[in-house]
Symmetry: C2
Subunit: 199 residues, 2 copies
């Protein structure tokens, strides 16, 4: 028996979600089939609303539903310090820290990657330079992911930015809190040793 075309199509779409394989997509599709019309309508609309309502902030590249994002629009924040991240998810992670950080952000929109064909022109670097030149940014904290691509991006960015009279730093590497030393990989352990601090 062939599966129903409508169901098969939905399964194809569900499989495009991260970490969703064939089996999970099937289970999700059948679960959706059991939901009532209102829920399905709402779900369907929520997906459609995404790119009708959400667009990148023209200043920092974070997602927003307004003209500029809530962080760029917030005058009570420190607009001299800027954390540079790869993705809007990372902005959210920092914002979860609460009052720990009250500066602004800049979203690159990805990491440099030779394999994925992402070059510096594909990232929001020009707009970052414009912000440094015109908007009084005095400190840049580079917070790309601790991966090969994130690392390359960070080094490249530091290179480009070093001609500006600003403070540039990047996040510390080391052991994650709550982890076990015996489970840490060699590279993390090496970085934790290199970055040791006096106590």
């Amino acid at each position: 028996m062939e599966r129903l075309p409508t169901l098969e199509q939905l399964i194809d779409y569900l499989r495009r979600l991260p970490s969703v394989g064939r089996k999970s997509a099937e289970r999700m599709a059948y679960a959706l089939l059991k939901m009532d019309t209102d829920t399905l309508q709402g779900f369907s609309k929520a997906i459609q609303d995404l790119n009708e309502h959400i667009h990148p902030c023209p200043i920092c590249g974070n997602y927003t539903e307004q003209e500029t994002c809530a962080i760029c629009a917030d005058e009570s924040r420190n607009h001299h310090t800027c954390i540079v991240v790869s993705s809007p998810q990372a902005v959210h992670a920092f914002e979860e820290l609460g009052p720990e950080y009250d500066g602004v952000y800049h979203v690159l929109g990805g990491d440099l990657s030779a394999t994925a064909g992402i070059s510096i022109d594909d990232l929001n670097v020009h707009s970052l330079i414009t912000r440094i030149e015109n908007d009084g940014i005095k400190e840049i904290i580079i917070a790309t992911n601790p991966t090969m691509e994130g690392e390359t991006t960070a080094l490249y960015l530091a290179q480009i930015l070093k001609k500006y009279p600003i403070k540039i730093s990047r996040l510390a590497y080391g052991l994650p809190i709550g982890g076990h030393i015996d489970y840490a990989d060699a590279l993390t352990l090496k970085k934790a040793l290199e970055g040791r601090t006096h106590i």
Copy 2:
């Protein structure tokens, strides 16, 4: 920073999918945000199409987009033998076996469950009896899930059906192929022992 309302709403819907927690739903929502308009439109429509196109087959309760499902409509199949399952997914699992089984199915639409408040009236039992009385079903193979609820449903069903002059059986319990005896739970092992066959 509050997350965007449109994104938050989508995350709420994604969390209703099976095995999707807060973190997964967030990752899925951000992945969707990166998809192009056509994909989002298609995805949205695929969800909406579900209950516009798909409904239960009036004969067996399996999902269909036609008047009756492809299995009930197929005259080349053996309509005297009927596997009784809890859900349409189970029909699909049997159909994946290929020519191993050429009979028909009956989908109960769930299992008896005191905790979930599902009684015999909530299951498609009346239509099964109608099929036995009018459509010449001679053999029923009960294939509810090997769980407490599935077991209760199977016993209850066998009780109801025993007044009809038909053959009733249920799937064998035992070790799953490819499994290890030392990983099998006690109940499965007990059933495998009880159901031992001569070789």
